[in-house]
């Protein structure tokens, strides 16, 4: 009994981890596609950061790429083995997405100051919406980690 419970717990944590990696990659991709390419609110390169800025950006970007691939393959393998807990995978996805969004909103925008969300006089609403969205995503992720029904003794 105990061993099967720990096996399913490790499968669940694998699903959460893979989902989180995919969530990180997805948010990064959405940022690049919607905000850089479609809206062009903030740029591919803002000119305000130096060579070190572009270098750090490149490292961050390469990390996203690896996360996206690792997460996809991880989930695909779990599914292939018939042991994918979708709820845990989604929970991980939202936790990863929200966590990265918050990291982007606080560290990348405010601490490292690579770029701002949009170049307007009053940035506050944008920052609030950005980080608020991050908190919502995190909340959904946390909500999904709760078991659906109270555990009943078998």
């Amino acid at each position: 009994m105990k061993s099967s419970a720990s096996v399913s717990a490790s499968l669940a944590s694998r699903a959460v981890r893979s989902g989180a990696l995919l969530g990180i990659g997805a948010v990064a991709a959405v940022d690049e596609i919607i905000f850089h390419q479609l809206l062009a609110w903030h740029h591919f390169y803002d000119g305000s950061t130096g060579t070190i800025g572009i270098l750090t950006d490149g490292l961050l970007h390469a990390g996203e790429l690896i996360a996206l691939a690792l997460g996809s393959v991880g989930l695909w393998r779990l599914r292939d083995a018939g042991s994918l807990s979708k709820r845990h995978a989604w929970s991980g996805f939202f936790l990863g997405a929200g966590g990265f969004q918050l990291f982007d909103g606080l560290i990348v925008h405010k601490v490292l100051k690579f770029h701002q969300i949009r170049y307007v006089d009053n940035l506050l609403p944008y920052d609030l919406a950005w980080n608020g969205a991050a908190l919502c995503l995190l909340w959904v992720g946390l909500y999904l980690t709760k078991p659906l029904t109270p555990r009943n003794p078998a």
């Binding site: 572009i54 950006d57 390469a62 690896i66």
Partner: protein
């Protein structure tokens, strides 16, 4: 660009035809060998043939006179050519595993000689992911950050050599990261993933740096054209690295920490000696 250079350009037709013939011969050689292998009862999955032909097809497209002219006229065309030759064609060629095919089709004794040849120190050093990455990405840094690029636009021979370098270095790098040949001393999946990470970072850096600085220098291209080319390099290069990462992780044997992955038929000289 002066008129003389253009005339030079038009006279390289024989070379282009020779390249196409060589590509066709390589693809035919591959298919004939694969067919022999299947008839002899050893399996060789058909998708590998398809992949290899795709790789050859992309190379053939990149070497068409029309593509060459586009690359000469517009730096965007050059980038597309570079991506096809150095990044996308190698992915398909390496998935076709031509060296593995050769190893399987050869008599065992000769296959051992080939494996021994592939594990001489120089080849082992050359095909280490770090060295392969340096040759591949390092070559791009040299080409785009020095006046070399401007010179290749005027000199067909230099241009051809640069593309040969892209192909060889791109193939070497792709092979070092996701090659399926059972070689002794192939670095772990973690090492290869880390090198791929560094390569993707270097590529992303170069793309943004070219964009920001309006490089390569000494060319007749407008700032807008240079920036469009840098963007193409950044996004399409990215996609090719994502594909590489997916292949790397998907084909990695699922091993627990501390266990060495086993290859289909690892040929280790030391074990054979006893």
């Amino acid at each position: 660009m002066n008129v003389n250079a253009h005339e030079h350009w038009a006279m390289t037709g024989e070379v282009e035809i020779a390249v196409q013939v060589l590509l066709l011969l390589a693809a035919l050689g591959y298919s004939i060998t694969a067919r022999r292998l299947r008839r002899s009862g050893q399996g060789w999955a058909g998708w590998q043939d398809v992949s290899f032909w795709w790789g050859i097809g992309l190379l053939a497209y990149a070497n068409l006179p029309a593509t060459m002219a586009w690359a000469h006229r517009d730096i965007e065309g050059h980038m597309v050519q570079h991506l096809l030759v150095g990044m996308y064609a190698p992915i398909f060629l390496v998935l076709g595993a031509p060296v593995l095919l050769l190893l399987k089709a050869m008599p065992v004794r000769r296959a051992r000689v080939l494996v021994r040849l592939l594990s001489v120190p120089f080849i082992r050093w050359l095909s280490h992911p770090i060295v392969a990455m340096t040759l591949n990405i390092g070559g791009m840094f040299v080409l785009y950050l020095t006046p070399l690029f401007a010179r290749t636009m005027a000199n067909p021979l230099a241009h051809g050599l640069v593309h040969l370098h892209f192909l060889l270095a791109g193939f070497l790098f792709t092979w070092a990261i996701v090659g399926r040949e059972p070689l002794p001393h192939r670095p772990s999946v973690q090492t290869r993933a880390f090198v791929l990470f560094l390569s993707a970072a270097a590529h992303a850096f170069l793309g943004k740096y070219l964009y920001a600085q309006g490089l390569p220098s000494h060319t007749a291209f407008s700032d807008e054209a240079l920036r469009a080319a840098a963007k193409t390099m950044y996004y399409w290069g990215d996609l090719s690295e994502l594909i590489l990462a997916l292949i790397l992780f998907a084909t990695a044997p699922a091993v627990r920490r501390g266990q060495r992955p086993s290859t289909p038929f690892s040929i280790s000289r030391r074990k054979n000696v006893s």
